[in-house]
C-alpha cells in the first residue's frame, strides 16, 4: 500500500518534470499523452487506495523521511491516506486526468503546449501534497505550491496587454494572476498565524497530536486558531471579501479554470475546514460565522451570476456560490455533507467548464453569451454535457447536485437557522435560473453568432469521449450518498437529521425543487426563444450594481490598490530615496572624497613616502607611549 501512496503522489510530479524537459520546444503531442497517462496512473493508485481504505476501514500512514528536525521541532514528510484524504485524492486525480486529456485537444494550437502540461501536472502535485500531508506544515507547502501554480497558469498567456476595466473586467492575464497571488498571500498570512498558534500551544503540527491535545487548550486559543485558519481558507476558497480573484482568474486557459474550480485550488479551503474539523467543532461561534459567511457568499455570488454576460464568469460565480454552500454545511457541523457536495460539485463543475471551453473553441474565444445562441445544432455533445451539468448544478432530481445541495439545505433547517435556510433555498432558485439562462442563451434561440461571421464546430471526438466520465458521475454520484456517509463518517463526525426534520424532509425537498424548477422555468420563458433585451431593466440601478459585481473591484481599486500604490510611491520617493538611499550614498561619497584628497600623498617620490613612514612610526610610538602611561 505504501508504494501506491507514493505512486499516487509522485506520478503528477514525474509528469510535470517530464513535460518541463520539453518546455521550450515546440508542441509535442506525446508530452500531453504521457502526462495524461501518468495522471491516470495516479488516479488508478488513488482509486485502489480508496478501495483499500473502504474495505479495511483503516488509514494508510507513511513517513517518507524526516524533513525538519531542529530542537524540539520535528516535522516529517509524512502522508496520511484516510477516508477524507482518499476522497479528495480520487476526486482530484480523476478530474485532473480528464482535464489533462481535454487539454491535449484544447491547447492544440498553442505554441506553449508542453509548458502548459508541465504547469498543469505541478498544480495537481501541489494539491496532492496538500491533501495527503499528515501535518499542517506539509499542508502549508501544498497550499503555497497551489498558489504558485495558479499564478503560473492564470497568467499563462502573459503576453496579452493590459486593457481598461470597461473593456475586460480582469484587465489582463498577468494582472489577474498577480491579483490571485496577492489576495491569496493575504489569506495565507492568516493561515500561517493559525499554524503558529497551534504550534505555540501544542508543540506539534501533526494532525493526530494536535487533535488529541485540543481539550487541554483554552477556548480563546481555539477561537483564535480556528479564525486564523479560516482566514486562510477564505483566501483559497475565495470567500467574501477575498473573492474577486476567482472571477478574474478566468483569464487563464479554460482547462485551468476547470482544474482550479473543481479539483486543485478552491476546494482546498473547504478541505482545510473539514480536515481540521475537531478544532472547528470546539469553536461554535467561529463555526457559525463560517456558516453565515458561506450562506451570504452563496447568495451574493448567485446574484452576480444572474446578469453576467460572460460564459466563464457565470460558471465562476456559480463555483463561488457552491463554495458558500459547502462552508455553510461545514460551519453547521455537517462535515461529511460538505465533503460530499465538494466531490459532487467537482464533477459537474469540471464538466461545465470543459463544455464552456468547447464553446469558446467553437466561437473563436468569444465568451459573451449575448453573441451566441442556437449553438445546439453545431455542438450536440457539448450541449448535452452542459445541459447535464447545469441540471446537476441546479439540483434537479436525480442528478448529483440534488442530493448534496438538498442535504445542505436540510442541515440549515435542522439546525434551526431558518434565515440561513431561507437564503439557501432562494439561492437554489437563483442557481437554477442563471445556469439555464446561460444554457438557453448559448445553445438555443436565434443564431446571433452569424453576425460575427463565426462558423462554430464541435470539439475533437477524443476530447468529448474523455469528458464522459465526468458526465456519468455528474448524473449518478448522488446515488452513492448513503455509502459515502458510512465511509467518511468513520473519520468525520456523523451528522443525522433530527426526527422532526425527518418528518418534513419530503416537504423540504419539494420546496427546494420547486424553487429550482421555477428558476429553470423562468429562464425558459425569458431566454428559450431568443434574446430580447430589455434596456429599461439593463439600465436599472440594481442590474448595473450586479453586472459590476457590486462595484467591489472598483472599490478595492479606489480604496486599497490606489492608496497603497500612492503610499508605496511616497515610501519610495521620500523614505527610501531621501533617507535610506541618501545614507548609503553619503557613506560612499565620503569615502570617495577622502580617497580623492588623500590621493595627493601619492606623489611617486620615494623621499616623501619615507617621510610619511617616519610620521607613521612616530605616531605609533606616541600611541604606544600614551597607552603604556595610561595602562
Amino acid at each position: 500500500m505504501e508504494n501506491l501512496v507514493y505512486i499516487a503522489l509522485f506520478a503528477p510530479f514525474v509528469s510535470s518534470m517530464f513535460a518541463a524537459l520539453f518546455g521550450m520546444s515546440p508542441r509535442q503531442t506525446f508530452v500531453g499523452i504521457i502526462a495524461s497517462s501518468l495522471l491516470f496512473i495516479s488516479f488508478a493508485a488513488s482509486a485502489t487506495l480508496a478501495f483499500h481504505v473502504y474495505s479495511t476501514g483503516t488509514a494508510v500512514h507513511v513517513t517518507m523521511m524526516e524533513w525538519i528536525s531542529a530542537g524540539d521541532l520535528t516535522i516529517p514528510f509524512g502522508f496520511l491516506v484516510d477516508q477524507v484524504s482518499v476522497t479528495m485524492m480520487t476526486v482530484v486525480t480523476l478530474v485532473s486526468t480528464v482535464v489533462h486529456i481535454y487539454s491535449i485537444g484544447y491547447m492544440d494550437h498553442d505554441k506553449s503546449f508542453n509548458r502548459f502540461f508541465s504547469y498543469l501536472s505541478a498544480f495537481v502535485f501541489s494539491m496532492m501534497i496538500l491533501v495527503m500531508s499528515d501535518n499542517f506544515a506539509g499542508l502549508f507547502i501544498g497550499w503555497e505550491g497551489v498558489g504558485v501554480c495558479s499564478w503560473l497558469l492564470i497568467g499563462f498567456w502573459y503576453h496579452k496587454a493590459d486593457v481598461t476595466r470597461e473593456e475586460n473586467p480582469s484587465i489582463s492575464p498577468s494582472w489577474a494572476a498577480n491579483e490571485a497571488f496577492i489576495v491569496n498571500r493575504i489569506a495565507d498570512l492568516g493561515m500561517l498565524v493559525g499554524i503558529f498558534i497551534i504550534y505555540w500551544n501544542v508543540g506539534s503540527l501533526q494532525y493526530d497530536v494536535v487533535f488529541a491535545d485540543l481539550p487541554n487548550l483554552s477556548s480563546s486559543v481555539l477561537n483564535a486558531a480556528a479564525l486564523a485558519l479560516f482566514i486562510g481558507a477564505m483566501g483559497k476558497s475565495a470567500q467574501f471579501p477575498l473573492h474577486t480573484w476567482l472571477t478574474d482568474a478566468m483569464e487563464g486557459p479554460t482547462p485551468v479554470s476547470a482544474l482550479i474550480h473543481a479539483a486543485t485550488m478552491v476546494t482546498a479551503g473547504v478541505f482545510l475546514v473539514i480536515r481540521a474539523n475537531p478544532i472547528f467543532s470546539m469553536t461554535p461561534e467561529v463555526s457559525f460565522f463560517i456558516a453565515a459567511l458561506g450562506t451570504f457568499v452563496a447568495f451574493f455570488a448567485a446574484s452576480m451570476a444572474l446578469v453576467n454576460r460572460d460564459l466563464k464568469r457565470i460558471i465562476a460565480f456559480s463555483t463561488l456560490s457552491q463554495l458558500g454552500y459547502m462552508f455553510a454545511a461545514a460551519g453547521l457541523g455537517a462535515y461529511w455533507i460538505a465533503l460530499f457536495h465538494l466531490a459532487a460539485h467537482a464533477f459537474f463543475k469540471a464538466l461545465l467548464f470543459l463544455g464552456a471551453g468547447n464553446v469558446m473553441h467553437a466561437m473563436d474565444d468569444e465568451l459573451d453569451i449575448f453573441k451566441m445562441g442556437g449553438l445546439k445544432k453545431a455542438m450536440r455533445w457539448t450541449w448535452g454535457y452542459m445541459g447535464l451539468a447545469s441540471l446537476a448544478l441546479a439540483g434537479i432530481f436525480p442528478f448529483a447536485g440534488f442530493f448534496s445541495k438538498d442535504a445542505i439545505i436540510e442541515t440549515a433547517f435542522n439546525e434551526g437557522t431558518y434565515v440561513l435556510w431561507a437564503v439557501l433555498v432562494l439561492t437554489a432558485g437563483m442557481t437554477a435560473f442563471y445556469s439555464f439562462r446561460q444554457v438557453f442563451l448559448t445553445f438555443h434561440g436565434d443564431e446571433r453568432y452569424k453576425e460575427a461571421g463565426i462558423h462554430p464546430h464541435e470539439m475533437y471526438k477524443f476530447v468529448l469521449i474523455g469528458m464522459a466520465p465526468l458526465a456519468i458521475l455528474a448524473v449518478i454520484a448522488g446515488f452513492f450518498m448513503g455509502g459515502f456517509q458510512t465511509f467518511v463518517t468513520k473519520l468525520l463526525p456523523d451528522y443525522v437529521m433530527s426526527d422532526h426534520t425527518h418528518h418534513l424532509v419530503l416537504w423540504l425537498t419539494l420546496i427546494v425543487s420547486a424553487f429550482a424548477v421555477g428558476g429553470i422555468f423562468l429562464a425558459y420563458r425569458k431566454y428559450y426563444k431568443g434574446l430580447k433585451r430589455d434596456m429599461e431593466l439593463e439600465n436599472s440601478f440594481i442590474y448595473k450594481l450586479l453586472a459590476n459585481q457590486y462595484y467591489i473591484p472598483n472599490f478595492y481599486e479606489a480604496f486599497i490598490t490606489k492608496p497603497y500604490a500612492m503610499l508605496s510611491e511616497m515610501m519610495w520617493k521620500d523614505v527610501d530615496m531621501k533617507i535610506v538611499d541618501a545614507t548609503v550614498d553619503g557613506i560612499a561619497k565620503f569615502l570617495y572624497k577622502s580617497g580623492d584628497s588623500s590621493r595627493k600623498m601619492q606623489t611617486g617620490n620615494l623621499s616623501n613616502y619615507l617621510n610619511w613612514m617616519a610620521v607613521g612610526a612616530v605616531l605609533l610610538l606616541v600611541i604606544a607611549a600614551i597607552s603604556a602611561m595610561l595602562g
Partner: protein, 100 residues
C-alpha cells in the same frame, strides 16, 4: 664609568642622524648610507643591552643584522647600478614615475 644609558644615548643619537638622513636626503645612495647608520645604531643598542642583562641573544641578533645588512647592501647596490645605468641619475625627485 660608562654605563648602559651612555650607550643607549649614543645609539639614539646615531639613529636620529640616520633617520634625518632618510628624511632629508634625495640621493638614493645617501639613503642607503642613512639606513645602514640606523641599523648600526640598533646594533649598538642590542650589544649594550645584551651585555647589561648578561644574555648573549642580543649580540647574536646584532650579528644577524650585520649579515642581513651586508647582503641587503649587495643586492641594493646592484639595483642602484642598474637604476643609474637606465636613468643616469639617482636623485629621487627625478625618479618619481609612479605618481598617483
Amino acid at each position: 664609568m660608562i654605563g648602559l644609558s651612555h650607550y643607549l644615548i649614543v645609539s639614539a643619537l646615531i639613529f636620529s642622524i640616520g633617520l634625518m638622513g632618510v628624511l632629508r636626503r634625495r640621493n638614493l645612495l645617501m639613503l642607503f648610507f642613512a639606513t645602514e647608520v640606523m641599523l648600526n645604531a640598533v646594533n649598538i643598542a642590542f650589544a649594550a643591552i645584551s651585555h647589561y642583562y648578561n644574555d648573549l641573544t642580543g649580540q647574536m641578533f646584532a650579528f644577524f643584522i650585520i649579515a642581513i645588512a651586508a647582503s641587503e647592501v649587495a643586492v641594493g647596490l646592484g639595483l642602484l647600478i642598474v637604476l643609474y645605468k637606465k636613468y643616469g641619475t639617482l636623485d629621487l625627485d627625478d625618479l618619481a614615475s609612479m605618481k598617483g
